[in-house]
C-alpha cells in the first residue's frame, strides 16, 4: 500500500522540511535508544511490509513408500530410504477423480507387484498424519512432511532429520516397517566399505576429505552393530541334492 511521505491524504500538507534534511522527518532523539525509523522517516513512498506467506511453489501431497532393498545410514542409525509417491492423477497409476480427489488403488497394487509398500498418511494410527499443508504466496497450498518447515517470506524449507529418523525407528520398532534383512545390511556394509577405501586414498591428496572419511567409518560401525543385533537368516527350505540324482554311475 503506497504511503505518501510527510502527510496523509485527509490532512493539510506538512510544512516543507528544513534545508539539508531532504524530506526526512526529524527525530527528537538520536542514537541506539531512539524509536525505530518508519517508512516515512526513510522517505519511502511505498510501504514495504513483511510477506506473510512462504514463497515456495504450491505442491501436491506425496505419500511415503517403502522397499525392503532401500536402506541407509542417517543420523547414526540404519533406517529405510523411503521414496515419494506423488498423489497426482496421471503419475505412477494414480487416477484423478472428481472433486480433486485421487484413487491410489491401482498405484498401490502396481507397486506391491514390485515389492513396494505404500505408507498411508495415518500409518501411526487414526488421527495422526505425517503430512501437513501451508498456504503459499503464489496461491494454492504446499504439502510438506512433518519434518519440513516453510518460512514466511522465504523460499527456504528447513528440515528436522533427527526427528525424521526417530519416527522411522519407531515405525520399525512397532512393526509398521519390517527390520532390514541381514543380506541387505551385508550389501550396505560392502558398499560402505568400498566407499571407505576410496576415501582413504582420496584423503592423501585432499585433506578436507577427512571429515567424510570419519563419517563413513562411523556409518560402517553402525551397520556392523545392526548386523550383530539381527538374528540368523531363516533359509528357504530346500531338499539336499544327491549326486546320484544328477550324475550317472559310470
Amino acid at each position: 500500500m503506497a504511503r505518501s511521505v510527510g502527510h496523509d491524504d485527509d490532512e493539510t500538507p506538512a510544512a516543507p522540511p528544513p534545508p539539508g534534511k531532504d524530506g526526512l522527518v526529524e527525530d527528537e532523539e538520536e542514537g541506539p535508544g531512539a524509536p525505530a525509523l518508519t517508512d516515512d522517516d526513510l522517505g519511502l513512498a511505498d510501504g514495504v511490509g513483511p510477506v506473510d506467506l512462504p514463497l515456495i511453489e504450491a505442491r501436491r501431497p506425496s505419500l511415503f513408500q517403502f522397499h525392503p532393498k532401500r536402506w541407509q545410514v542417517m543420523e547414526g542409525q540404519v533406517v529405510p530410504l523411503l521414496a515419494p509417491m506423488p498423489l497426482v492423477g496421471g503419475i505412477g497409476n494414480v487416477k484423478a477423480l472428481k472433486g480433486g480427489k485421487v484413487s491410489i488403488a491401482t498405484a498401490v497394487a502396481e507397486r506391491a507387484k514390485r515389492g513396494w509398500t505404500v505408507l498411508r498418511n495415518d500409518v501411526e494410527g487414526p488421527g495422526t498424519s505425517y503430512l501437513y499443508w501451508v498456504r503459499v504466496a503464489g496461491g494454492g497450498r504446499a504439502f510438506l512432511t512433518r519434518w519440513e518447515t516453510a518460512h514466511n517470506g522465504s523460499t527456504v524449507v528447513t528440515s528436522d532429520p533427527k526427528g525424521y529418523v526417530e519416527w522411522l525407528r519407531k515405525l520399525i520398532d512397532t512393526g509398521k516397517i519390517p527390520a532390514p534383512k541381514s543380506y541387505v545390511l551385508e550389501q550396505l556394509k560392502a558398499r560402505l566399505t568400498q566407499e571407505l577405501l576410496e576415501l582413504k586414498d582420496k584423503v592423501r591428496t585432499v585433506p578436507s576429505a577427512q571429515v567424510e572419511l570419519d563419517r563413513k567409518k562411523h556409518d560402517l560401525a553402525v551397520v556392523e552393530r545392526e548386523l550383530k543385533r539381527g538374528g540368523p537368516l531363516t533359509p528357504v527350505r530346500a531338499k539336499p541334492v544327491k549326486t546320484g540324482d544328477v550324475v550317472a554311475k559310470e
Binding site: M74, A83, V88, G90, A96, D160, E195
Partner: protein
C-alpha cells in the same frame, strides 16, 4: 524558482514503460527430452476404450538360452516369460483469463499466438515434470544420502544399469543442487578418464534448456522438479534406460469449432495432442485461453531405473 522536472510533471511522464522485448521467467524447459530414446512411448489411448495402458514385456530375442538334453530325450515345453506394467492417462489443463480491457491496452505481450506457443511448451514440460517425479522411485539406488553428488555416483549408476543389461543410451535427470555438486566435482578433479562434453548451443536448441551435456555416454538433464527425500535433506534424481519410465497420452477427437485449435504437440504420429481453446464469458467481459492435454507416465521395468540419492543443499 519553480523547476519542472519529470517528477513534478507526472501527468506528462508515465511512471513506467514496458520494454520492447520481454524476458521469460525462470523455469525448467526440457520439452524435447521426450524425444530421447530412453523414454518409452506406450501409445495413444484414443479409440482404445480405456485410459489405462498395459505395457507387456516379453522374454524373446534370445532372453532364454537353450537347454541341454540327452540325445533322443524329450525337451519339456516351457512357458514364455512375460511381465507387464501399467500406466494411466489423466487430463491436465491450464487456463488464463484476460479482460477485454487488458487485451486492448496491452502492447503486444499477450496474444493468442504467444499463448498457443505457451500451451505446447507447457504440455511438454508437464510430461517432463512427471518423469522427474518418478526417476527417484526405483528400488535400486546409487549415491550417498547426505553427501554431495560426484561423478563416481553417476558412474556407479551407469555401471549398475549396464550390469543389469539395460539397453542404452541412458538418460540422467538430476536436481539443480545435484548438477551443481557434479560440476564442482568435475572442476576439482583433473586428468579424469571420462571427458565431460558440455551442451553446445545446437544441442540446447535440440534438447531443451535443461540439457547439461554428456558424460560417459549418459545424457544429463537438469530438472528442479526432482523431488526431495529424507525430510528434504536429499534430492532423488536418477538414471534410466529404455523400459524404465513409460509415458502415454490420448489425442483429441476433432472438434469443428473455430475457437478450438488442436496441435500436434511433441509425441510421434502428429495427431492432436494439445488442445488450445478460447472461451468467452461476455457477462464478465473476459476471454479465457485454456490448454488441455491428456498424459500419463509410470515406472516400467524397475530394473531399468537407478535412483541417485544425494544431498539437496
Amino acid at each position: 524558482m519553480v523547476i519542472n522536472t519529470v517528477a513534478t510533471l507526472a501527468a506528462l511522464f508515465p511512471a513506467e514503460v514496458v520494454s520492447a522485448e520481454w524476458l521469460r521467467m525462470r523455469a525448467d524447459r526440457n520439452i524435447t527430452l521426450l524425444a530421447h530414446p530412453a523414454l518409452h512411448y506406450a501409445g495413444d489411448a484414443m479409440g482404445r476404450g480405456s485410459l489405462t495402458f498395459q505395457i507387456p514385456r516379453v522374454g524373446l530375442d534370445g532372453y532364454r538360452i537353450l537347454e541341454q538334453v540327452a540325445d533322443g530325450a524329450l525337451v519339456a515345453d516351457r512357458e514364455l516369460d512375460d511381465d507387464e506394467s501399467s500406466l494411466s492417462v489423466a487430463p491436465w489443463r491450464k487456463s488464463y483469463a484476460f479482460t477485454d480491457l487488458v487485451m486492448a491496452v496491452q502492447s503486444g505481450q499477450i496474444s493468442s499466438t504467444i499463448l498457443a506457443r505457451d500451451a505446447v511448451m507447457a504440455a511438454g514440460n508437464t510430461l517432463v515434470h512427471m518423469v522427474a517425479q518418478l526417476v527417484g522411485g526405483g528400488s535400486n539406488t546409487s549415491g550417498t544420502p547426505g553427501a554431495a553428488l560426484t561423478g563416481l555416483h553417476i558412474l556407479q549408476a551407469k555401471n549398475r544399469l549396464s550390469a543389469r543389461s539395460v539397453p542404452g543410451p541412458y538418460i540422467c535427470v538430476l536436481s539443480g543442487s545435484q548438477i551443481e555438486d557434479f560440476q564442482g566435482w568435475l572442476a576439482a578433479t583433473s586428468g579424469g578418464g571420462i571427458q565431460w562434453l558440455p551442451a553446445t548451443a545446437q544441442q540446447i536448441a535440440a534438447w531443451g534448456d535443461g540439457y547439461q551435456g554428456n558424460w560417459g555416454g549418459v545424457d544429463i538433464f537438469l530438472s528442479n522438479r526432482v523431488p526431495t527425500v529424507n525430510a528434504g535433506v536429499d534430492s532423488a534424481g536418477g538414471m534410466f534406460g529404455l523400459g524404465g519410465i513409460c509415458w502415454g497420452d490420448s489425442s483429441f477427437a476433432p472438434e469443428p469449432d473455430p475457437n478450438i485449435v488442436d496441435m500436434g504437440g511433441v509425441a510421434p504420429g502428429g495427431r492432436a495432442k494439445v488442445r488450445f481453446e478460447r472461451a468467452r464469458t461476455g457477462h464478465a467481459g473476459k476471454t479465457s485461453y485454456i490448454t488441455h492435454a491428456n498424459i500419463g507416465a509410470a515406472e516400467g521395468d524397475d530394473g531399468c531405473i537407478e535412483s541417485i540419492i544425494t544431498l539437496a543443499t
